[in-house]
C-alpha cells in the first residue's frame, strides 16, 4: 500500500498485531475472582511508564477512585490517551503523572471552562503530544480490538490535525479514493467505571458506551470499578446486558459513587459546585495544593473523599438531580 502523505507525530504504542496476539495468547481466560481493592489494583497493574486509557467521557461514568489512587501512589512517566478527556485529564495533570499524550480533546471541561493548571502543564513543554480527533481515537481502539494494525477513516486530511498526527494517507485498492489510515492503539492499561460487574469481571453499563466497548477489548490489562457487584447468576440470567466479558478484565473493585464528582447515568448527576470550585482554586497555586491535599493526597479512599464533600446527603441531592425531581433540587 503506497503512502501518499504522513503525519509528523510519534506513535506512543506499538500497533503490531502479531506482538499484541502474542500478549493476548498468554492472557488468562480463567473464570476466577478478580475482586480486589483500588489500592491493590493500581499498585499491581499500573507500572511507571505504562500507557493508559480512561473509559467514559471526561466527567461522565469515569473511574475517579483509580485516578486519585494513581496520584496518591505517585505513578510517573505514564502515556495517556487524551480522548474526550475533561475532569479525568484535570486530575492526572494535577499530579503530573504523564509525559506523553495522544490528544483528541484535553484541558477543557466543556461548558464549564478550561483548567488553568492542565493548560499550563500542556504549555510547559514537559508533555510530548501527537494530535488526533475523537473519532480517530475511537477508530484506533477499533483496529486494536479487531486485532489489526490500522483502521481507515475519512477525515483529518488537509488539516494541521493530520500534519501533527501519526496517521498516513493512502488510496483504497478498490475505488482509488483517499483515506487516512490510523494506527491501532493497544493500551497497557484501561480503567473503566461500570454500573454493575460480577467478581469475574463481566460488566454492564446503562446509557451511552462512548468508546468503551473497544477500549476494554484492545487494552492489555483492564481495571474495572463498579457502582455495585452483582451475582454471576444475574449475568447469566440475561447475557445480552454484558458489554465487557470476564476474560478482558484483570481487576474488579466495588466503588459506589465511583464516578463522583462526575455524572453516572440514572444514578447521580455531576457535582457542579465541586467542579466549579476545582476550576477556581487552580488559579492560586497555594490554595490548589491545599485543595489537592484535602481531596486526594490526604484521604484514604473514595469514601473519605465523598465524606469530605458532603457525604451521603450530597449523594442523595445528586441522585435527585439526575432524575430531575425538580421540587427536591437544591
Amino acid at each position: 500500500m503506497d503512502v501518499i502523505e504522513k503525519g509528523v507525530g510519534r506513535i506512543f504504542t506499538d500497533p503490531d498485531a502479531d506482538k499484541a496476539r502474542e500478549f493476548f495468547r498468554h492472557k488468562s481466560r480463567a473464570l476466577v475472582s478478580k475482586l480486589t481493592t483500588v489500592k491493590e489494583a493500581v499498585k499491581e497493574l499500573i507500572k511507571d511508564g505504562d500507557y493508559i486509557s480512561v473509559g467514559g467521557f471526561g466527567a461522565n461514568r469515569v473511574p475517579i477512585s483509580v485516578l486519585h489512587e494513581i496520584l496518591r501512589q505517585k505513578k510517573k512517566d505514564l502515556g495517556l490517551a487524551g480522548h474526550t478527556a475533561t475532569h479525568d485529564f484535570q486530575i492526572l495533570s494535577a499530579g503530573k503523572v504523564f509525559n506523553r499524550c495522544d490528544i483528541a480533546y484535553i484541558i477543557g471541561l466543556e461548558a464549564r471552562g478550561l483548567s488553568p493548571n492542565a493548560r499550563a502543564y500542556m504549555q510547559s513543554g514537559e508533555v510530548e503530544v501527537t494530535e488526533w480527533t475523537n473519532y480517530t481515537m475511537s477508530a484506533r481502539y477499533k483496529a486494536a480490538a479487531a486485532g489489526v494494525s490500522f483502521h481507515p477513516i475519512r477525515n483529518m486530511m488537509g488539516t494541521d490535525t493530520f500534519k501533527y498526527s501519526a496517521a498516513a494517507v493512502s488510496e483504497c485498492p478498490f475505488t482509488g479514493q483517499k483515506y487516512t489510515l490510523v494506527p491501532a492503539l493497544y493500551s497497557d492499561v484501561a480503567v473503566i467505571h461500570a454500573h454493575e460487574a460480577d467478581i469475574y469481571g463481566n460488566c454492564r453499563v446503562r446509557g451511552i458506551l462512548m468508546s468503551d466497548w473497544d477500549i476494554a477489548r484492545s487494552s492489555k490489562k483492564v481495571i474495572i470499578t463498579c457502582e455495585r457487584l452483582i451475582p454471576n447468576d444475574e449475568i447469566r440470567r440475561d447475557p445480552t446486558m454484558t458489554f465487557i466479558p470476564y476474560y478482558c478484565v484483570d481487576a474488579v473493585c466495588e466503588v459506589p459513587y465511583g464516578s463522583y464528582p462526575g455524572n453516572m447515568y440514572q444514578e447521580y448527576f455531576s457535582d457542579e459546585d465541586h467542579l466549579r470550585e476545582w476550576l477556581k482554586v487552580e488559579k492560586d497555586p497555594e490554595a490548589f495544593k491545599k485543595f489537592l491535599d484535602k481531596n486526594i493526597y490526604g484521604v484514604q479512599d473514595h469514601f473519605e473523599y465523598i465524606e469530605r464533600n458532603g457525604g451521603i446527603r450530597k449523594m442523595q441531592m445528586l441522585r435527585q438531580k439526575e432524575w430531575l425531581f425538580r421540587g427536591a433540587r437544591q
Binding site: T84, L114, G158, T180, G207
Partner: protein, 256 residues
C-alpha cells in the same frame, strides 16, 4: 421590534436553518439551544445527535457535557461515539455547529493552539475533540461566533478542522467527502455563506442596526458581497418566548 441580546439573535437565526426532518450533530451551549429551539418551533421532527452517543433525546434542560445524562433523556437510543461518527461518515448527518479561536476566509477553524512550537505552544486550546470529525462528515457545517477581526483571520495559524481548505475544489482533492463543507457563518452582525466557485466567505445578510462597514471593520480579510444583501429578520416574540421559557430558563447560554 422585540428586545433581545446578541446570543438570542444568533440562536434564533441558527434555529431557522434547521429544517424539519433533518439531523443535526450538536455540542453544548448555543448550538444545543438552537437545535432545541428549532425542535420546539418549526422543526418538531429534527433529529438531535450528540457525539458521545445520545441519539434523538428530548433534551429537558441545557446539557453541561455532550456525554451527560441530559443528552440521552427520553432518547431513542443510547449509542456510542464510533456509531454516531460512522452515521455521519455514511452521509446521514445534515448539520453541525462548530467554533474556534480562529476562522478563516474558507471556513477552516483553529481550536488547537496559538504559537509556532507545537510541543510547547504559547496558548494551548482543547484540540479537535469531535470537530474535525463532524466538519468532515456533516453535509453542512455552521458556525455561531462574535464578529471580531482577531477571530476572522485571512488564514488560520493552525487548521484543526477543515472548512473549504484552500477554496475551489481543494477540499474534495484532499480526499474529504464530496459535497460536504461549511455552509453558514452566523455572527452578532451578519450572516455569511460561501461563494460557490471560489468557496470564499460571502456576506448575505446584515442584522438590524449593522452596516457593511461594521462587518468589514471586524473581519481580518476581504469578504465577498452577495448581489443582494438582505436584512436578517430579527427574532420573533414567539421564538424569544420559547427560547427563554422552555429552552434555557436558567439563562445558562442566553445569559452569557
Amino acid at each position: 421590534m422585540a428586545d433581545f441580546n446578541t446570543m438570542e439573535l444568533m440562536i434564533c437565526t441558527a434555529a431557522r436553518e434547521l429544517e424539519d426532518g433533518a439531523c443535526v450533530g450538536v455540542g453544548t451551549g448555543a448550538p444545543c439551544a438552537a437545535a432545541m429551539l428549532a425542535q420546539k418551533t418549526k422543526s418538531p421532527n429534527l433529529t438531535i445527535i450528540f457525539e458521545a452517543g445520545g441519539v434523538a433525546p428530548l433534551v429537558p434542560e441545557m446539557p453541561i457535557s455532550v456525554g451527560d445524562s441530559r443528552t440521552t433523556w427520553k432518547a431513542c437510543m443510547a449509542s456510542s461515539m464510533p456509531d454516531v461518527m460512522e452515521t455521519g461518515c455514511r452521509g446521514m448527518l445534515d448539520y453541525t455547529f462548530l467554533g474556534g479561536a480562529e476562522i478563516d476566509m474558507y471556513g477552516n477553524l483553529n481550536s488547537t493552539r496559538i504559537g509556532s512550537d507545537h510541543q510547547k505552544p504559547k496558548v494551548r486550546f482543547p484540540g479537535s475533540g469531535g470537530a474535525n470529525d463532524f466538519a468532515s462528515f456533516a453535509w453542512r457545517m455552521m458556525v455561531m461566533t462574535p464578529q471580531d477581526s482577531k477571530r476572522f483571520v485571512e488564514r488560520c495559524t493552525y487548521v484543526t478542522t477543515p472548512g473549504w481548505i484552500n477554496g475551489g475544489d481543494s477540499r474534495a482533492k484532499c480526499g474529504l467527502a464530496v459535497g460536504a463543507g461549511p455552509y453558514k457563518i452566523i455572527t452578532n452582525m451578519a450572516v455569511m455563506d460561501f461563494e460557490p466557485e471560489s468557496k470564499r466567505m460571502r456576506i448575505v445578510a446584515l442584522n438590524h442596526g449593522f452596516g457593511l462597514k461594521d462587518v468589514e471593520e471586524n473581519c481580518g480579510f476581504e469578504l465577498i458581497k452577495a448581489a443582494k444583501i438582505i436584512e436578517n429578520p430579527p427574532p420573533t416574540e414567539q421564538e424569544l418566548a420559547i427560547l427563554r421559557e422552555e429552552v434555557d430558563p436558567y439563562r445558562y447560554v442566553i445569559g452569557r
